[in-house]
Symmetry: C2
Subunit: 367 residues, 2 copies
């Protein structure tokens, strides 16, 4: 535990660039004194900010870059003009070279994913990386993946997502055996797409260690926190995530309108202001900051583009926890283990997937 | 406009059966005097309720049934024991036989879909029916379909959903040319699944009359009301709908907890009670009551199982509007028209779908 954790920061990423990244790093360092920072970005912007924070200055090094990926750039554009030169690319590349233990960027998600795949590559057992988000629930927080790193998933990819999500939950939530569920729909007879059904069977039969597979959940279980980890493919996951964010904004807007409708309501609002502030904080996407790219040969944390310094420091903390808990090794171990199991027990399950009655058996197992 | 509209009601459906259906019919009749009701259900339960409402009694007829579909029954079970005998089946069958113009049930959604498909069959051009829901938005209401009638959709089915949804919006929202969008994800380069991209191109090239195709929207556009009609396949649609419902409940729960946290908040709550009641009403799923099965050779409205009499009357009103506006004929006309266009202009679009650069062109068109 004595070696410091070395953290690569894309200082130009996000809506506020170094104005959030540097104060964020100050907070992160205060929380974890055994950290060092590689700050990738325009030194003329970073230096004046760093001058105010001698402690961080002593624990960091600026790597001057002249190009930055814009928030609205397409991944292919970003790769074209930002490869080998942009703050984002170089931060990721320092992880690849072993100069940093993990990277954090608040920049363009699509570009970050494309560059991370390019520099770090995926793990041996994984074809495509996934993006795991923290989902606020009535019971606390869940991890939901994939929320949009790739579109479509076969049963094996869904199982891999379950394994990676569980490994992440073990570390981040400190639970020995996180509950894991597959996102599905509720109409019994047509329950789910074939891939989801097949993944359901594979997860049940594999009986993976430290993964408490619970079967299917529906969209409204996300907010309830029915499972620690909810697995779905990226198209549906992205739409579910954005639908929830949209609904939260919509209700906040209704609430503002309701509280402004007459004098009584306005006075009531003033009296209950503390309560409203607490609620606002709860609904603030920054309080659940830091989505994680999983399946890469390296740790990359995506901070919310609009996050403030506290939010950014939270994203750094996630990466720190993952490093200190040897996340990559543990995920590799879980994946290898599950691959071995697949080769023995789970294979026959796949072969019989289309036999008559299989669908019925599965439906019976769901609730 | 002088012929009365004849309405078949599954009096046993929903959480409250005739206790909601009969008062609901009373309200519906008061609103639309030119209606007549066929009440399918247990006459020993219906008669005492009807005795209190002479006006409805004069405009209705009870068809006594001895079996009813339970709310928790699987569609196959319901079909097995409720076929030809249950209130739900017989209500649908009366539409099939031309004795009623449309049917309303607050019963089991899966069973209603299965029975409706069985009795009414799908329209000639449509392979599978869809379930269209009203989605409350910041601008009012949108129609979202499919929210779970069937899983998976090819491009043609998505186009059919767009046509049916637009026809419904024209009637229910009284808009000449409703805006229609396809639900998709936001990461540019991997934007969408092949079916969604192909449907996007078909809708653009077909340039259907009275349908203002707007391209892609994302999950958070649902609550904003960016388009009058949002089209997606049933798996994603069902998960989006339930995720939004779950998020609304979650926030309501946070809000209740916040308002109870101290004396000031409690007093504030009491003062702003009217505002909270208005908000509660806005979030109440009953206020957007009445999902519609589309693509069937007949009109079937699904009322929310927990709806009250006002909600149930709202579901009846939707069916009434659809009949008075000759919904089925208009949908058939739209579908035939689009089929003709497909045979001419849209066919080459499908053939060139996989040519190099097609994906890029599509991404460029999206926002």
């Amino acid at each position: 535990m004595n070696t410091p954790v070395r953290i690569a920061l894309d200082a130009m990423g996000g809506d506020f660039g170094p104005n959030v990244v540097i104060p964020g790093a100050v907070l992160a360092l205060a929380r974890r004194p055994q950290t060092e920072y590689l700050l990738f970005g325009d030194s003329s912007q970073i230096e004046p900010l760093l001058a105010r924070h001698s402690e961080l200055a002593a624990h960091s090094r600026i790597i001057h870059t002249t190009s930055a990926v814009r928030m609205d750039e397409k991944p292919s554009q970003a790769l074209r003009h930002g490869r080998r030169t942009s703050s984002m690319w170089l931060a990721l590349d320092s992880v690849k070279k072993g100069e940093a233990d993990f990277a954090v960027s608040a920049g363009n998600t699509g570009a970050l994913m494309a560059m991370a795949k390019f520099t770090l590559r995926t793990m041996a057992q994984i074809e495509r990386p996934a993006l795991a988000a923290f989902w606020p629930t009535l019971r606390g927080e869940s991890i939901v993946l994939d929320v949009g790193a790739s579109i479509g998933a076969d049963a094996q990819h869904l199982v891999d997502l379950a394994i990676m999500g569980a490994a992440m939950a073990r570390i981040v939530f400190d639970i020995d055996s996180p509950s894991v569920a597959l996102l599905n729909v509720g109409v019994e007879e047509i329950k789910g797409i074939e891939e989801v059904k097949a993944a359901h069977r594979m997860l049940r039969e594999a009986a993976l260690p430290n993964l408490d597979y619970q079967g299917f959940v529906e969209g409204d279980d996300l907010g309830k926190g029915t499972a620690d980890v909810v697995v779905t493919e990226g198209f549906t996951g992205n739409i579910a995530l954005k639908t929830a964010e949209g609904t939260a904004k919509q209700i906040a807007s209704y609430l503002r309108a309701a509280m402004a409708r007459d004098v009584r309501s306005k006075i009531g609002y003033l009296l209950a202001r503390g309560a409203f502030e607490a609620l606002k904080k709860k609904l603030d996407p920054r309080s659940q900051n830091g989505a994680v790219f999983l399946g890469l040969d390296g740790i990359v944390i995506k901070s919310h583009g609009g996050a403030d310094a506290v939010g950014f420091a939270g994203a750094v903390e996630i990466g720190y926890e993952m490093i200190r808990n040897e996340f990559l090794d543990r995920i590799r171990h879980s994946l290898t283990l599950s691959q071995e199991r697949r080769m023995t027990s789970a294979a026959p399950a796949q072969l019989t997937e289309n036999e008559p009655g299989a669908g019925r058996t599965l439906s019976g197992l769901t609730k």
